[in-house]
């Protein structure tokens, strides 16, 4: 160890250790990926084979009938996709803009109300009214039942992201830049949109991606506020699918109707196909933005 290390201080352990480490991480990576592979495999398995052999990682024959069924009877799916997409896009754009707008004055050293508005945010991180008053406010007073606003509005208040953005401003935007902008006669809005935002792209991208994920993956607000089937989000349709299939199985088991239902609708593979379609977009964008995710987490870890 010693002689080798002396010549190269950056050496990282012996070759055997490296092999063990790599084998471990390959196993760990498989543990992370294989469950998703299982879902994909089930979605591509013939329904009869499923009932005979159970869920397997490698289907004997690839059978896309679940996907065909989904695309043929896709009204629910298309609608749910539309809802999820609308909520995600509007929510993300609004959230990023509002977060930046709130974080910017908190960064400005000359802003006299900085402390007040910092405190205003901090309180929301400490104390929460909880579910019951929140629900009653949205349903009874704001009348947001079955409204897409109820899916967007809750996601817009995120104190943690505001603090991350403010920290980023403090670390990257020199005070002099704002000063010179003012000397050149630029308005506050112009300084914000043309000077501050462009150089803040890394943090805006990070926040944006986190928000996208939050909106895309949200099921809680749908579960609370949406009864109208036309406004079900993708995640909520999936909740219905995992619960309701269970329901008709227990209700109709052994009556013969169950057999009919099972034959015409590829229930098991259908559900998993739905899951695959819902995570598809995430797995697609994820590799491209992984470095931003890591960066964003790091900023958050340094100081919220």
């Amino acid at each position: 160890m010693t002689t080798a290390s002396r010549s190269n201080p950056y050496t990282k352990g012996s070759t055997t250790a490296q092999i063990i480490l790599n084998v471990f991480f390959i196993a760990f990576s498989l543990a992370c990926i294989l469950p998703i592979v299982l879902i994909v495999a089930i979605s591509l398995t013939n329904e009869k084979a499923l009932t005979l052999q159970g869920y397997k990682f490698w289907p004997d024959h690839i059978d896309a009938s679940a996907y065909q069924y989904l695309f043929k009877h896709s009204e629910t799916l298309v609608k749910a996709y539309g809802v999820s997409l609308t909520v995600t896009v509007i929510g993300t754009v609004l959230a990023v803009l509002l977060i930046a707008l709130y974080a910017y004055p908190l960064y400005r050293k000359d802003f006299p109300f900085k402390k007040t508005f910092n405190f205003y945010l901090l309180i929301t991180m400490l104390f929460s009214g909880g579910l019951v008053p929140f629900y009653l406010l949205y349903v009874n007073y704001l009348d947001l039942k079955d409204s897409l606003v109820a899916l967007i509005l809750p996601g817009l208040s995120n104190a943690f992201y505001i603090f991350i953005t403010r920290t980023f401003f403090q670390q990257t935007i020199p005070e002099e830049m704002i000063e010179s902008g003012k000397l050149d006669g630029a308005s506050e809005w112009r300084i914000f949109f043309q000077l501050v935002l462009p150089i803040s792209l890394p943090v805006l991208a990070t926040i944006g991606l986190f928000t996208t994920l939050m909106y895309w993956n949200d099921w809680f607000n749908s579960m609370l506020f949406i009864n109208d089937t036309n406004k079900f989000s993708l995640q909520y349709v999936m909740i219905q699918m995992i619960r309701q299939a269970e329901f008709f199985k227990t209700q109709l088991a052994g009556t013969g109707v169950a057999l009919m239902v099972q034959e015409s609708v590829p229930t098991e593979s259908l559900r998993m196909a739905m899951v695959v379609l819902s995570i598809g977009p995430i797995l697609f964008i994820y590799p491209f933005f992984q470095k931003y995710f890591t960066k964003g987490l790091t900023i958050g870890a340094i100081k919220g």
């Binding site: 990926i33 159970g54 802003f111 009653l136």
Partner: protein, 325 residues
């Protein structure tokens, strides 16, 4: 922080006649644009966070929908009396706290170990790949996770049930009927979902440690193990302590999706899977039992508040800079 203070001192004696109020008005006019920027989010926080805070008094009301929230009669502590008279309160409290303690401790150990291990992987490409894959589970919603668990545990077709358990002599096990299995199932699920992303934070901290420390240690003939225990771990300790303490502040809240969806809200599992969040939700939405639900809600919010304050005070004591406030 250092710059504006002298300025403020300078302006103070210059405008003695106008007083505090005059200065306030002037500042509002002068910074009206910045204030306007703050306005929309301030309103949103007021709606989403502040109004519900004041709504906590619902726990002391006997709500009926005819009279509305304001008009309903006061109930004193009746809601709380009902809540704590049942065995529910104790059960959900114990479940919530126990799961959180186990998740926090094991999550910490596993994330830190993972971060240290991945930092030792020499091949940069492999290391990047492992990191990418490790974080992935965290980007799946709990609904998707519930399908994954279901794919393994489906009473008839599940991969574990159909292919693995028979090897050990068990056939057709319906996990959704066995409450005692769920602490393990939920633990595995939670760790699968979160340790990858948890380790990224520690990895960032490790990469921030100066190479020189390790160089010097190697010069002195320190083994890899000694480098880890004598350099890496001590330098990670502050972050570990702070994050853990702050997590402790949230010990009365839990991952609703994990306990509600992954268990499929199965009634047979309640004894080991019901937590305060699911209890409040069920009371509110399914049973429409506003009294019980709002009492549990109040209990969670208030105890949660003191836990956060306490946790932060502790963090502050250990290290001023890393406390939340």
């Amino acid at each position: 922080m250092a710059n504006p203070a002298p300025q403020a001192l300078k302006t103070k004696p210059a405008t003695p006649t106008q007083g505090r109020f005059g200065r306030l008005i002037r500042n509002i006019v002068r910074y009206r644009v910045l204030l306007l920027m703050l306005l929309p989010t301030s309103i949103i926080f007021f709606i989403n966070c502040y109004i519900p805070m004041f709504g906590l008094f619902i726990a002391f009301k006997n709500i009926n929908y005819v009279d509305g929230i304001m008009g309903s009669p006061w109930a004193g502590l009746d809601n709380f009396r009902f809540l704590f008279a049942t065995s529910d309160a104790l059960r959900v409290t114990i479940n919530t706290v126990a799961y959180n303690v186990v998740f926090i401790i094991s999550g910490l150990i596993l994330s830190v170990s993972l971060a240290i291990a991945i930092n030792e992987v020499r091949n940069k490409l492999a290391s990047k790949f492992f990191q990418t894959v490790m974080i992935m589970p965290n980007f799946l919603s709990m609904v998707v996770v519930s399908f994954i668990v279901y794919a393994f545990l489906h009473p008839e077709y599940g991969f574990l049930v159909k292919h693995i358990l028979p090897m050990f002599g068990y056939s057709s096990v319906n996990a959704y009927m066995h409450p005692n299995a769920w602490p393990y199932i939920l633990w595995i699920t939670k760790m699968w979902h979160s340790i990858g992303i948890g380790s990224v934070i520690y990895l960032a901290a490790i990469t921030g440690i100066s190479e020189e420390l390790y160089e010097a240690a190697v010069m002195d003939g320190a083994s890899k193990w000694q480098q880890i225990t004598k350099i890496t771990l001590p330098l990670l300790t502050p972050i570990m302590v702070i994050l853990t303490i702050l997590n402790m502040g949230g010990i009365f809240r839990s991952d609703f999706g994990l306990f509600y969806h992954v268990t499929l809200d199965s009634g047979a599992l309640r004894s080991t899977t019901d937590v305060i969040d699911t209890y409040v939700y069920r009371g509110l939405i399914q049973l429409n039992d506003l009294g019980m639900s709002s009492a549990a809600n109040f209990y969670q919010s208030v105890v949660g508040f003191f836990l956060v304050i306490g946790a932060n005070a502790l963090a502050r004591k250990l290290n001023r800079d890393t406390a939340l406030f």
